[in-house]
Symmetry: C2
Subunit: 276 residues, 2 copies
């Protein structure tokens, strides 16, 4: 936790850039820590204390998993040379080298595949898109538990989706077996206090939370309001004036904007996933 | 939190059925709450307090999201008749009707699709498998934050993957637009104290956590040990003697064992996802 005592109402105001739901919110140390999340992209070189990695993985393993399949793994990378190679494969993001720990979260059907082989069985169910989705979701639930645990210990974290830019090369670097795919990376370390970070405002809750049925009333006006709030926030924290609408139109506007990830089907096929 | 004071070591022992990593684990209220997770499948009829739903969604929106795309939504279902219809579509699980709140978590590319349309743009990037994966992961990270927050408030939760048995019918029930898919449900409520629940042991950490590169040494022996520990646990809590290996071989052994989810590609196409 960040040591700044805030009421639940102030936490909500920061999360929504001032446009928070008007409710009396229950609060405790857990909720407070979750609401205070911000991604950290500048780290001190200090290593993590003994037992922290194992605690984070225990937190990850405490997440729910579909039918107890536990269809995920994590590769902990601390070797500076390997971190540098993975950074080079992940859009050269400097913080990957800087942080003491880089976790590669794996959607992992290979363990079940080996289990079948050990019992003389080809497990047909693993060939379906559904099983890949289970592995992806299992990995995500586990990873997010690790994030919440890490932040509660005063550590900073950031997900690295750019680990998907070169899936086959990443798999080779990590020695992954077939049917294992590195979904995202995660840098973890002590935040550099000289580089400020702040809670980023999200879309108004009314656009995300629907009651009984999905409804899109007033969406354009509310998105315009969000553009204004996010612009004011990003300018205030020195990131330039960001505009969500324009950023999103650029981010998913073309195949090229996906930075190579438009070949994900081909990459997953090369890694052994059938996605029937 | 469950009100039982336990040391970090005891929490780890429960999580691994006695085969916990031998480390001095850092602990605090957040880590303690995460390690104590158990799924709850029996609820009291009592409604949630005012503000709880909004707090859980604020926690969910505090989760990281790929490039701030926020490619998810959640539909909160409290109407008993709608809960009953969704339960009927989700393998008739009784607790869906019993719990006061059923959250349907949506992998949602429709918001960005509408944003493009409002600006006269067809956003090609949304057509790729990569964008669907972003939406799936965004929804999962958000949902898990809600779980951690809910449990810290003394509530019980359970994910409902069976909401994927009939994706098109669920989409119709929830009034989902094209490019929106209900990934999983989640029942939330006050646990029925007359129905015991317990922390389920997971695979040994050594099978899930890899250092520098993926390694499968001693996997068969360690899985045999896990089968024994999970068997002893499940028998002790009155669930019969479960065997992970046999359960997994059955769960993903055939297309039929996926309970209709083997037609996921067809269902997603019908919902508008291109998955290029």
């Amino acid at each position: 936790m960040d040591g700044i005592a805030q009421t639940g109402a102030a936490r909500l105001a920061a999360r929504y850039g001032g446009d928070a739901p008007d409710v009396s919110a229950p609060a405790n140390a857990v909720v407070d820590s979750i609401l205070a999340h911000r991604s950290i992209r500048a780290f001190l070189p200090a290593p993590l204390a003994d037992g922290v990695l194992e605690t984070l993985v225990a937190a990850a393993q405490s997440a729910p998993t579909s039918s107890n399949q536990q269809a995920w793994s994590v590769v902990a990378v601390q070797d500076p040379a390997r971190k540098a190679r993975l950074a080079a494969l992940s859009n050269d993001q400097r913080f990957i080298v800087q942080a003491p720990l880089f976790l590669c979260w794996i959607a992992d059907l290979s363990r079940l595949d080996r289990l079948g082989a050990a019992h003389g069985r080809k497990l047909e169910g693993l060939e379906f898109l559904e099983s890949y989705m289970v592995a992806l979701v299992d990995a995500a639930l586990a990873a997010q538990n690790a994030v919440v645990a890490a932040e509660s210990l005063g550590l900073g974290t950031v997900y690295v989706g750019a680990l998907r830019h070169h899936p086959e090369k990443v798999a080779e670097e990590l020695g992954l077996p077939p049917n294992a795919f590195a979904v995202f990376g995660m840098s973890i370390g002590h935040p550099d206090p000289s580089v400020p970070s702040a809670v980023k405002p999200r879309l108004p809750q009314s656009l995300v939370l629907h009651h009984e049925q999905y409804a899109v009333a007033e969406e354009p006006a509310r998105i315009a309001g969000y553009d204004a709030r996010l612009g004011a926030f990003s300018q205030a924290v020195g990131m330039g004036r960001q505009d969500w609408t324009q950023r999103m139109l650029a981010r998913v506007g073309t195949a090229a904007a996906l930075s190579g990830r438009d070949r994900m089907r081909e990459a997953l096929a090369a890694l052994g996933f059938k996605l029937r």
